[in-house]
Amino acid sequence: MSHLTLEQLLQLREPGLEPGVFSLRAHLAQCAQCQMEASRLDQRSARLRALPALRPARDHWSALEQQFKVERRRRWLRRVSLIGLAAAAGFALMLAIRSANHLPGPSKQLAIDEAMARSRQLEQLIQSYNPDARVTDGRTVRVAGELEDRIALVDEELEAANRLDPRGRDAQVLGLWRQRVGLLNALVDVHMTRASAVGY
């Protein structure tokens, strides 16, 4: 057998048992020249590890600290804007519930139809934006998730309300549809704010 190549010597240093390793080891065990080559290889690696550490010529901490502060400020502004959106959505819901109780019967049905149409428009807008296919930060995901959970609760309440006696049902249904529109508006704002922040 001829002497081991550098590739084979390197192969012998790797963990695991690849095919052919046994015959390579057997050769190495009885070949002084290959043992010397293996030793040189090990020494070369050891000398690489022993090279002195290269150090930066200047201190970079102050520049980094500035970057950190700018980043922190940017995050804080985004957090405040998202919290503001969620609060505005809550306030809009409260107004929607109150106003629904003061409308006459036919107007209520008309208002319900309007709210349902608006709700569909907003859902289509969110679908066309396709938030699931976009990269989103954790805070946006959390706020959007909370809004979606609340929409799901409203949907459950709507389902229950539709089973009620028609005489007292409309005011409640209208209030719920308006809640739904308010929540969807907030959800659109959350996605669009995030999109403008990352330049979509």
Binding site: M36, R47, L54, F68, E71
Partner: protein, 189 residues
Amino acid sequence: MQGLGIFQSAMTDTYVLADAPALLARARAGDLTAFEQVYRAYEVPVYNLARRICRTVEDAEDVLQETFFEVCRSIHQYRGDGSLWGWVRTIAASKALMRLRRNKYRDADEFEEELHRAPRSDSGLRMDLEAALERLPETSRAVVWLHDVEGYTHEEIAGMMGKTVSFSKSQLARAHTRLRRWLGEEPAA
């Protein structure tokens, strides 16, 4: 180094930060003095790794800053499964390799560079290890450094470089072949 509460283990070549859990807790809470301690502890090994892989001082300095900025942004993602230095080092290695790719240090460039740098007439040349390492093509140098010095496996290097394990192995062999020649360590015919 010791004043910062850090020591380097000669056996494992890893940097261990004293009282790391408390420091991390402060860093996660946004304490910039804690980040500064992390920076001071790992500044030199991160820069050294970057400088060994990147072509220029400027690139290495950029990698240093990008690495610690990423550490600051992602500190909540570090779960403490491995050593903090291991986590920081992987970020630094990825940033340095990204810089290589960005600067288009490709095999084609290396081939051309090799033609200029290592003509056949240098067979009798003997240089020191530092100069020989500096002379290696970027990819080979990155692989030999990550494998032989930083201790990454071929699988890990291939993953970071977006290449195959065979590519990493062949680059390591190429690097050692050149180093052996340039250091005057070729076996007698």
